[in-house]
Amino acid sequence: MGVSRGAERLGIAMFAPALIYIFALVGTPLFLAFLYSVGDVTVGSVGYRFVGLENFASVLQNPTFRGALWHSFLFTVGAQLIVIICANMLALALVDRFRGRGLVRFFILLPWVAPISLGAIGWKWILDSIYSVINWALVKLHLVGPFDTPMWLGESSLAMMSVIMVHAWRMLPFSTVILLAGLTAIPKDIPEAAAVDGAGFWRTHFQITLPMMAPIINVAVLFGVIFTFTDMTVVYILTRGGPYDSTQVLPSLAFFTGILGGDLAEGAAISVFLVPILVVIAWLMLRLAHRAEVV
């Protein structure tokens, strides 16, 4: 029995919005990015000349780019490490029933659902060189002198740390929810069997629960890495890549070079540079997840 012509048309019509959306808002920009990265386009230019890998060679020569590449890795690995450890602890705390669990879950989800610009601006004030509440607290506790407060966003290593912390704060709810789902999916019998078998909390957690959650942790890390590696919001709002490009990451550098600096071709080359790295990460993670499933 074949599908009638009308039903087929309806199917295409129903499918079209998704297809158009992907082509117009994902496919086209991606295609343009590839096209620009091998051309000589600048903002305001009208022509297009194919230049091969010239843009890539040029950015690779640029110390700012190499710095940004390193910062991107540091930013991603640092933030994800913090996120995974904290998300694990939070998930363990939230899996048991207790009074007010719903409220606590709501508060933990808040950084994820609140607009990032709002959160980041909040952090900008918290880390401000003059109005920082952290510094105020440190001074009041007599841990630092009133004119000796740390410049959270003004000093290279502190700024990087601040950016990583804020991004981890923002990603934490997402990972927590995923890990919580993974933890809930483990049958209650299994940790109980471990308890009867003589295992304490740490052994149960590290030898039973964590390995069983490995596939879902991989998913959380994969998404976290991609969200972090391609994100520039926190950096852009808090430090604009400064001081002296010490928090510059690839997406922010691509934006500053391509959009604000007007060199579309080089900006495109920088952002396209991310693609193979992300593909490798995704492939590795999916392989890990698959293996954990099969073994």
């Binding site: 049958p187 019998d189 299994i190 109980e192 069997a193 471990a194 308890a195 009867v196 078998d197 003589g198 295992a199 304490g200 052994r203 030898q207 039973i208 390995p211 069983m212 490995a214 954990a292 073994v295």
Partner: protein
Amino acid sequence: MATVEARGITKVFTQGERGAVNDVNLLTREGEFMVFLGPSGSGKTTLLRMIAGLEDPTAGDILIGGQVVTHLAPRDRRIAMVFQSYALYPHLSVYNNIAFPLKAQGVPKEQHEDKVRWAAELLGIGALLQRKPRELSGGERQRVALARAIVREPTVFLLDEPLSNLDAKLRASAREELTQFHHRVGTTTIYVTHDQIEAMAMGDRIVVLHEGYVRQVGSPREVYDDPADTFVATFLGSPPMNLIDHGDVLVGFRPEHLLPRDMVPGPAVAIGVRVTGVEYLGSERILYALIDRDRFAEQKVVAKLPATYETGAVDGRAMEFAVAERNLRFFDKTTGKRAASRSLTWG
């Protein structure tokens, strides 16, 4: 080896509601195979979990080997438990599943291999040690769970419906094997089941539970032949015991004791019945009938006859049946408790 004792054990999950387990007092013997039998919701698993330390009793004490363990963690009770789902660690090989309790309890590493092999051989799974649980059949998983339980030589075995996930055929052989296994290791065992056949076949003693109360403790023969109340009388046996309303008492007799008049020698009570249905089950016949005599007219009875006996029973036919007097049991009509035997004036 050790005994297990429950003293006034009560578990209330929701304040104000009836407890899941109510004032249970029990004492196993050394090396005994004790079965907790009851329908779902009877509190048998909750009671087992309190013995294991997975659930805190609301009141009362648990003693293992004469020592109060009520507030000890499961790991400090020297018990082993087999879960209904087996609860094997899915990411570990059979070998590592069995070795896990050894590692967790700090048994020196050089002893692990010997002990794991010993447990695996005992259960006939020596060839499966490198497999993962997902690659095993239900029966094999059950053996792995047993091997994991036996490997550290616990003082008490707790088994929570370990056969309920096996198919009917496998269950019968697993039952026999489990009994053999218990004879070999001789460890005090508590076995939870809702299956009366398992309870009858395996238990040294059966604890019949209902709504969190112990209804009777006794050997399979005692609980079957001398039920303490109408619940035990009707829960055990298939079809259940016939209960006939007789003035202030209920008169009970097993379907296999309700036989055609000429098959019952000695003093007996005659019961005239009208057959309402016959089920042929191969080895036996189940007769559904109504009593045909004035005073007990229209009360339902069930008879179980060996299929080798040709009754000629068909629907609607009136027949003369009887029950030997020694097979009659009496129960108080209001409390349901067992009442003294009396001579019966029937009809």
